[in-house]
Symmetry: C2
């Protein structure tokens, strides 16, 4: 079996998850490098990885470079992706810097896996979409094939881990503190997260939408290659460790039979339908942690509009929303013999 | 100043809040009775109240009966409201049993305060709407006056206290347990609430919507007296103690100027607008606890539809969502000299 030399850039929450996913999915890794700012060893699931300080030369002899990306600042891909490509790598970047560039494909393998080949014609970079977009488009794509989706109204319930591992630490330490009667002092997150929710993810941008809300709008159109899908969203942080949930209302061009929609979703790649009201079964973030699939429930017709459908969509934001999708893109490169 | 004899039925989370609100709002209470199943004393804000076992005769000489209602089972109003009315009371019922009855007005004073007079012509009962409906219609009504609202898509973020005080205890004890590595054992709530969210409030009903989701649809039409307002919703429990949040998308008949919408909401009765992105200001449940107003932020135009508007609406579900609205209905009765 052919093996591929892989560099993972970043050793934070997503970088660690990338190492875990490469192993769990048995990606055919030849030489593996973990690159970050400082020289150290990290242990993931009992396996010790040596972290090397990143330099342009680090990419010599590597074939795939997985950039973990960063939250809130420019990712390492801005500095190093060109160097990696120059040295023969295909870059898969989880950061937000290149996602909307014309010569960079934005890929969710279940939806537009074929687009990975554009990286070769372009600048050698494939962008991994934003976590909240990935799980939504996996849910939308099979329905879009049944009848074109024209409108999406989505409200999110996003876990602290979406803001990095310090935000997870803050969720737990702050919650413990509040239970003991101490005041909350937000640092990693913009507001108190313990026993609270707030509609603010990313930074405020055009039309008073946040950067996260714009990602859902623009990335969806790019991945699904359809500018007529008009997404609108409010994104909200909730006191959950891992697993983003989304309350998705959508309108198709034709009225669809809801049983058929359920059947199509249940058979679609990367989707697990959990939707049995008799047993109060629906997806929840606590059940999705560590999984690579997108979980869908509460599938139902709008009572007023025969073309309106509601979905409740949950996925592990560090896995399908980041690391697993990136590794699946690498798998797609292998499958299409592009690496 | 004229005073009124008031019976509060129920001594749970909402009943206690009714006693607190009557005092804080200086309602002109003459004789006060607290009625429940068992004989005991309760202390609210340092004030001791004697709880009497409820009988039909308890309502003799009372003028206003505030029923706290119950979650998940038939409220005491089913058994006792007729007896109370027969003895001269006007009943204000926080339970769900009578809300959709034709001869029972469903009232949010800021929206349809005038409707309280229908109770006299009807069966002497005024229904207090569901918590999630109350805060939403307070936000919708001023916009509806500017241009008729045709469509509402709402996803909720509902606090544990909406399921009663046992659910609040469970939120805190379960969270503490999970932090200490113990397994969660849901009892008061249908699923684990610690560091989790789930799209299930009330029971599953027609079209696979929950009873809570139907309340938002049907109660809104009744309170706003407009069957053309087509509400659709997904209702979700979140690990918050007090304060329901709602992500509301709405469409008006005409396109509105968003600055005018903000100005109208800021001046509307019972509303406080918190919407300053420069200082990351928006309403959050932790800031709304103990308040009677409805808090609105993230007011913005949809980027695709000039008639589409987003709102983020937060209120204390035990206060404006239950006890305060009920006491405001009593105030409306006094104002209109109906009692």
């Amino acid at each position: 079996m052919k093996k591929y030399n892989v560099a993972v850039v970043g050793a934070g929450a997503v970088g660690v998850e990338m190492l875990r996913v490469l192993r769990q999915r048995n990606f055919p890794v030849g030489k593996l490098k973990v690159l970050a700012r400082s020289n150290r060893d990290i242990t993931v699931d009992g396996q010790v990885y040596h972290v090397e300080p990143i330099t342009p030369q680090s990419f010599d002899g590597m074939q795939i470079a997985l950039f973990a990306g960063t939250e809130g600042e420019k990712g390492a891909a801005v500095t190093y992706s060109e160097e990696a490509v120059k040295r023969g790598c295909i870059v898969i970047d989880n950061g937000a810097d290149f996602r909307m560039e014309k010569d960079v494909p934005l890929v969710v393998p279940e939806v537009n896996g074929k687009d990975v080949k554009q990286a070769k014609k372009g600048r050698g970079i494939i962008a991994n979409p934003n976590c909240s977009t990935i799980q939504m488009v996996v849910a939308l794509a099979p329905i879009h094939k049944m009848s074109k989706i024209k409108r999406v109204i989505v409200s999110t319930y996003q876990a602290a881990s979406g803001a990095g591992s310090k935000a997870v630490d803050e969720l737990f330490s702050q919650t413990k503190g509040v239970l003991e009667g101490q005041p909350a002092r937000p640092e990693a997150l913009s507001k108190r997260i313990a026993f609270n929710v707030f509609p603010h993810i990313g930074s405020f941008a055009e039309n008073d939408f946040t950067s996260e809300e714009w990602k859902l709008i623009l990335e969806t159109q790019k991945i699904m290659n359809d500018k007529k899908i008009l997404v609108s969203s409010t994104t909200v942080r909730v006191p959950v460790k891992v697993g983003h949930s989304e309350s998705v209302y959508l309108e198709t061009t034709k009225a669809l039979d809801i049983k058929k929609v359920k059947a199509v979703l249940a058979k679609a790649p990367g989707i697990i339908v959990i939707d049995d009201l008799k047993t109060s079964s629906y997806p929840m973030p606590i059940d999705c942690e560590g999984k690579d699939e997108v979980f869908i429930g509460r599938i139902r017709k709008d009572p007023h509009n025969p073309k309106g459908i509601w979905l409740w969509v949950v996925a592990d934001n560090l896995r399908k929303g980041a690391a697993s999708n990136a590794v699946q893109i690498a798998e797609e490169l292998v499958k299409q013999a592009l690496v």
